[in-house]
């Protein structure tokens, strides 16, 4: 897969704690097309560390002259958001993988209802642009701390008017999820992205109202959780890889030069599933992909999110 060579064309820090970054092709021309809901895995060279983090594309998918992402400064950053906030400047060069989409709208839908919380608004910037262009009915419910700190709030209201509802918690407003899902026409799809609790509540409200799972879509991008260091033995390469406290297994594999499969880097897509040959200890599954039964079987690990504690872990890599 060809890496994209990008240059930082603009940085917008208008909203405190959220940095909008526009990336354009280094050599001019157009970037590959992407679809609403897609994300980009940015490669960031930060001293000796090469970070690869996924970010939802929030620009209009029709605009192929550049890609835009919006990054919230994480309170306990593993490094990615701190790098983008503190060290990135206009003119810097970055590379990225091709856009990939794990949060595709269901185009059979008659109506599209989106529930966003905080920086989880980013994929809905591209979705609302596309729904609007195609004339598809939609509504967006956007929970935020305050109007002043809500990324894209003004832009969304200007663009889509009453189809966008803001719920600033400092004004005491909360999304009435039961009401949102309570009277929608057959063929409606629900999409949610934001804090875990909000996503879980939105999905539960829909299930409680009799919605089928096929109409429910959630985007979970989480940073890999830190944990105690551990060592993985790679059966095919014949090497041992030590995973640091703030490093994911996938990152440790990449640092060791192992070509490990991956796509979303957030435990959602299943691409990085790796066969476990031996595990004397416990696999700490942190992904959203394996079923409870598959977790219990213990013969696969999702390297982007999951960790291990114990004496010996042997992987088929």
């Amino acid at each position: 897969m060809t890496e994209l060579a990008l240059r930082v064309a603009a940085i917008d820090d208008a909203i405190p704690g959220i940095r909008r970054i526009r990336l354009v092709p280094r050599t001019g021309g157009l970037l590959p097309a992407f679809s609403a809901g897609a994300h980009l895995v940015l490669a960031m060279r930060d001293g000796p560390t090469l970070r690869r983090n996924p970010y939802s594309l929030c620009s209009d998918p029709e605009d192929r002259s550049g890609y835009e992402i919006a990054v919230r400064r994480a309170e306990r950053s593993r490094g990615g958001s701190a790098f983008l906030h503190d060290r990135l400047a206009v003119g810097d060069l970055l590379s990225a993988g091709q856009p990939a989409n794990l949060f595709q709208p269901d185009w059979r839908g008659r109506r599209h209802v989106m529930v966003a919380g905080g920086i989880g608004i980013t994929p809905f910037m591209a979705m609302t642009a596309t729904f609007d262009r195609l004339g598809l009915p939609f509504e967006l419910h956007y929970a935020c701390r305050s109007r002043a700190t809500a990324a894209f709030a003004d832009l969304l209201v200007a663009r889509h008017g009453a189809r966008v509802t803001l719920y600033p918690s400092d004004e005491g407003r909360r999304i009435d999820l039961a009401a949102v899902v309570g009277d929608q026409p057959l063929g409606t799809h629900l999409y949610t992205c934001g804090p875990d609790a909000l996503m879980a509540a939105a999905l539960q409200a829909a299930r409680d109202a009799g919605w089928p799972d096929q109409a429910l879509h959630a985007e979970r991008f989480e940073a890999p959780p830190p944990g105690d260091p551990f060592t993985a033995t790679l059966a095919r390469s014949g090497i041992e890889v030590t995973v640091g406290r703030d490093q994911s297994l996938l990152e440790a594999l990449e640092a060791a030069g192992v070509a490990a499969p991956c796509l979303c880097r957030g435990g959602a897509c299943g691409e990085c599933a790796t066969r476990v040959i031996e595990a004397r200890g416990t696999i700490l599954h942190n992904d959203h992909f394996l079923s409870p039964g598959e977790r219990a079987a213990g013969d696969r690990i999702m390297t982007c999110m999951s960790r291990f504690t114990g004496d010996r872990l042997v992987l088929d890599l």
């Binding site: 269901d106 839908g109 026409p185 063929g187 299930r207 919605w211 799972d213 109409a215």
Partner: protein, 198 residues
């Protein structure tokens, strides 16, 4: 047998979605038994509409059994086209939380799913249960005629007369299996038809 063809539908059986705001049951012939066996509670039945297409020989008795359930409504269709049209009318204007259930022959379920998908329902969201014979609805890939109630392998196309091999390849759009000329290379070499879908 399992999953030889990815398009070959599976029918997991009816299971009530207790949270549903409204239940619509589309039933044909022996499919009535799928609902009476399910025995929904009275609360669910007050939110249930039943569309029933009776088939011989037990249609009348099954209609009596369905009526005894005491659902919000029970409508007997004179024919399949009428049932599908009534179903489309019910789904038009329905709200999310309406759940659809289909039970009966494979051809019936397939055509209910076509109506459901046109109304914005993912076919996987529909509870289905196969009851009754295994007769197939078959589209001749050559002249596009759809043969109903096909029970033999191969079968004769009622449109163009070709002898068709009935494949497991299933069209969700048509709700029909694909039939392909079995003796195109050497006309007249088709094996004798045998009862295969009973």
């Amino acid at each position: 047998m399992a999953a030889a063809f990815l398009s070959r539908p599976v029918y997991p059986g009816l299971a009530l979605v207790p949270q549903a705001r409204r239940h619509i049951f589309a039933l044909e012939g022996a499919g009535a038994g799928a609902l009476t066996d399910l025995a929904p509670d009275a609360g669910a039945l007050t939110r249930s509409d039943i569309l029933y297409l009776p088939r011989d020989p037990d249609g009348a008795a099954q209609a009596v059994a369905l009526a005894a359930l005491g659902a919000a409504s029970l409508w007997q269709a004179p024919d399949l086209a009428a049932l599908l049209s009534r179903l489309a009318g019910l789904l038009d204007g329905a709200r999310m939380g309406t759940r659809l259930y289909a039970a009966g022959s494979e051809g019936f379920i397939g055509q209910v799913l076509v109506v459901a998908e046109a109304a914005g329902i993912d076919p996987l969201s529909v509870a289905t249960e196969h009851r009754g014979n295994r007769a197939r609805r078959v589209q001749c890939v050559h002249c596009k005629t759809v043969a109903e109630e096909v029970t033999t392998q191969p079968c004769a196309c009622p449109g163009c007369g070709l002898t068709l091999f009935v494949r497991d390849h299933y069209s969700r759009r048509l709700g029909a299996f694909q039939g392909v000329c079995i003796d195109a290379e050497e006309p007249g070499s088709a094996p004798a038809a045998e009862e295969a879908f009973r």
